[in-house]
Symmetry: C2
Subunit: 210 residues, 2 copies
Amino acid sequence: MELVLPKDIESRSFEIIEREIGDRRLDPICKPIIMRTIHTTADFDYLENLCFSDGAVKSLTDALKGGADIVTDTQMAKSGINKKMLAELGCEVHCFMSDEDVREAAEKNGTTRASASMDKAAGLYGGAVFAIGNAPTALVRLYELINEEKINPAAVIGVPVGFVNVVQSKEMIMKTSVPYIVARGRKGGSNVAAAICNAALYMIRDGFKA
Amino acid sequence: MELVLPKDIESRSFEIIEREIGDRRLDPICKPIIMRTIHTTADFDYLENLCFSDGAVKSLTDALKGGADIVTDTQMAKSGINKKMLAELGCEVHCFMSDEDVREAAEKNGTTRASASMDKAAGLYGGAVFAIGNAPTALVRLYELINEEKINPAAVIGVPVGFVNVVQSKEMIMKTSVPYIVARGRKGGSNVAAAICNAALYMIRDGFKA
């Protein structure tokens, strides 16, 4: 096996991705996010799947530069987001999925915990970045809260994965007026949600200006 | 959007996956693991990618039934494994990636933290289940430790993702004599590592006997 030094693995990976993308032109503002998602998944489908509303990357990076918090629907995504870089910007990441009051609210209202966790987030961090990597019901509840003007996310990263309600929940978010980055179709995941957040953090570190 | 009740989402998802797999016959012992990986990723490539050594699923489930611990190379995988079910079996999951002594050892020896974390694990939990979802260097180090007879994993889940050293590291593990479940090729991830562990836990819950 060819020895690639640890410090060179990431840059070499991005060179390979770049080469395999070939002639295809990507919007330079969206490109770092698309590239990092492919880096995280080894799945070039994200070249097609990832959809960005106008100005979404600027909204996302502006929010994080301004110290916006991130709300996510899984402990895995929370765990995958670069906390050191987040702290440097004065941001935090929250996941309410395991909270006792969320469990109780979900049971009482016959919804999912993911949906109830969005209600809790709306009361606390309504202007946050929402990074949804797992539960379509979280995305559907976000859609409702946005339409009811109970919440005004700085940006929504809508990348739940799966076979039931997933495709539809993403299409719903894309009909709102909030800035979004959505992985259209079935694919996505907590790893993708974390990768998109991290890509934005690295863009800020590298001096990105939109 | 058709309303699917939260409690029915998972079973409906598995019905859809079953339908799309169609006539293809899967080894019934491996099938729950393949299905859950597809459920986690919405990626049917895992029908082809997932490779099982003879008896690997039995080794994995026997180990967990016997209270074996799991060592993983990412906090994300640790975060995604069902801790409640793990605790019921008397198992725990460990990730040493953020440990100060691992950071120091990696720096001193010019290796990755992932590699150093395997050395630490070898001293503490050499007979554990190893679930590698991110770092090929962790898998390469496992290969070396196995060949040096310094470690004897109950099973290796080898599913790092990426473009550099990933394919090769998986092929190396498949040359050892330890029971393995490997996602051949570039694909995998912390989510896949967690999904395979969880699939094994659910098989045990559901009374799986090999």
